[in-house]
Symmetry: C2
Subunit: 415 residues, 2 copies
Amino acid sequence: MLYSRLFGRPKKEAKKFESISHQLLTQGGFIDQVSSGIFNYLPLGKIVLTKIENIIREEMNNIGAQEVLMPALHPSSLWEKTDRWTSVDVLFKVKSQWGGEYALAPTHEETITPLAKKFIKSYRDLPLALYQITLKYRDEKRPKSGILRGREFGMKDLYSFHHDKKDLENFYQKVIQAYLKIFRRCGLTSVKITEASGGSFTKKFSHEFNVITPSGEVDLIYCDKESCSFAQNEEISQSKTICPRCQNPLKKEKAIEIGNIFDLGTRFSEAFDLKFVDQDGKEKFPIMGCYGIGTTRLMGAIVEVHHDDKGIIWPETVSPYRAIIVGLDLKEKPVRDRVFLVYEKLQNLGVEALLDDREEISPGEKFYDADLIGVPVRMVISQKTKDKIEIKGRTEEKVKLVSLDQLVNHFSFIK
Amino acid sequence: MLYSRLFGRPKKEAKKFESISHQLLTQGGFIDQVSSGIFNYLPLGKIVLTKIENIIREEMNNIGAQEVLMPALHPSSLWEKTDRWTSVDVLFKVKSQWGGEYALAPTHEETITPLAKKFIKSYRDLPLALYQITLKYRDEKRPKSGILRGREFGMKDLYSFHHDKKDLENFYQKVIQAYLKIFRRCGLTSVKITEASGGSFTKKFSHEFNVITPSGEVDLIYCDKESCSFAQNEEISQSKTICPRCQNPLKKEKAIEIGNIFDLGTRFSEAFDLKFVDQDGKEKFPIMGCYGIGTTRLMGAIVEVHHDDKGIIWPETVSPYRAIIVGLDLKEKPVRDRVFLVYEKLQNLGVEALLDDREEISPGEKFYDADLIGVPVRMVISQKTKDKIEIKGRTEEKVKLVSLDQLVNHFSFIK
């Protein structure tokens, strides 16, 4: 991509937002606020979001889940069946001028259960795991921290159906491992699995996946002893100060919830009278699980964790580009030709690169922008670098001079 | 994919729907109606939709358009600025319990224009073309024909910004070519470009892309002389009976609109006071174009055009799988092993195959289902086929017996 054609270029003068991810993603030209809790994703932001979604998609497919797409408009009758039409306080409601009313879905138990009911007849149809990646809606009182808590946001939600509790528990453990892998692949290595209350969704306990960061909205009580993994959401920790597992003093920090999993029991299969005939010939309600990852929130959380005072530091797996080529002295034809030659070579190698070909911008501003948008590798080609290319990682101080052959070898090797 | 694990298997007993695409997509396990005009996309349907979206994405990128993602919730103030808050009769409206009201977007001029305004300053920022692939909402009085006219539906919308009319016209022509290519790649080769009125969107003329089919909702007046391409939407044709270009008698048929393009002029740039400084130093309003393709509707239109009395006939480019392997006599271990061997070979070749490994289903039913879901190539492996594989195209009558080597060669060659 040529920087001169990229829509949504970095802005120096962006105003201050409360959270660092909101600030850097706006300044870097990844997102743009339309209204409180509602955002546009610009080309750079859309690429990052798609990369996150594809990592999630791969890991969902790996555990045998199948992708579907359910609507955001849910007839009110479905939510009345589960008694959630009036009890879920964040539900947006939409009237049709032709009669009838819809919920704008914050979650999809009300559509996945009747859908599953059309196809689940026998124990042979179980277990079943279905997921989707779509936009969700919550009428939050105070949307905050940019894309960390919005009124419209991206989410992957997975639902599973089982013939008994043990089968659910097996799958629940598989999902925990898949989630940890997803977060690792997105560059979040220290994720705490915590017990939490199920909120309005279920009366059972549930688990959250939390990343510790000062902009977090969850108060996390946890034990930082490496051999102990105790962690609880403060809501349910009853202000414990000593670890109930190892007696270590507990810590309290802000965290962002980036995933959650619920044992739904038979709450929804009963509400929709979804039954299957078990091996013993008896009709039973499948036991359900529900598992969410906020995709747009995850994008924000990655920035909260990976940045410095110069800007974002994208993990390579979700970076919008693998490398940025900063072209200087572009009015000199030999330099310009060389810049485009390197760009082409990288493209031919399948290395997604952003070429800063802007002529009216000073070298200082180009370096500033490259740091701000946080692509892992920066290359500089100028009159001064002659037939070499100056290369450095986003977090490195020292630059290296390499030949084009060395560069090609480097990227061929790590591909 | 193993058919025994696939969610949403074909149903023989599906009730009759008014349109053939609604009927076959439901029966085949591609879609499921949640409510009038609102659908679930099951795994098979989701794969087809993704393939269609990716074809569109490639062709949009090829003409230099950049992908963004805009929200469905639009603050009412944006729609008041363009006088469309009360004038667009299909607008769903959503109140927040915390104050404020939103439109549920049927189109995105109201967000793309203020977004573009933040970045377009000079003629050097033009032309600009941005697109997205998202869900859209229309409070239709009578949703009909399944996914051909829904209240919630998928759409690709592209918006372009130009410094003058000529530049818009150049790009408009590029989009026409890209659209024809997209439809061709999706298996729709005879698409008519017709003049239509701009509806509530614009007072200027616009163009529609129509596919002739009996379930269509548009009345198309056209000249079928090959050298003449005259076609008009009946709305504006004033009941012409003779071609104004070649004097041939005109025909009238039902058609489905699968794409449309509008010259928006400066209607929206003026409404949002979006200006740029032109080369002559003067401030001007960019001229805008808007270009849509209904992605879910396109999926329905493909089925309307490509089916027979046995089921769907997917064009290979959008088929959920390239081949279906029908395994018979699976209780015989040597046969079963061979079936899985062929399946694995195809997978290793990168050929997406569906393996009908269901044991409780009769051969007749398996053939029925294979025809219904419409995958381009059917292979049969049974006791009778011995070390050969029976192969035939979806629309062919005659089967061929081939060896595994021949099969592998076939797929290696056409890959």
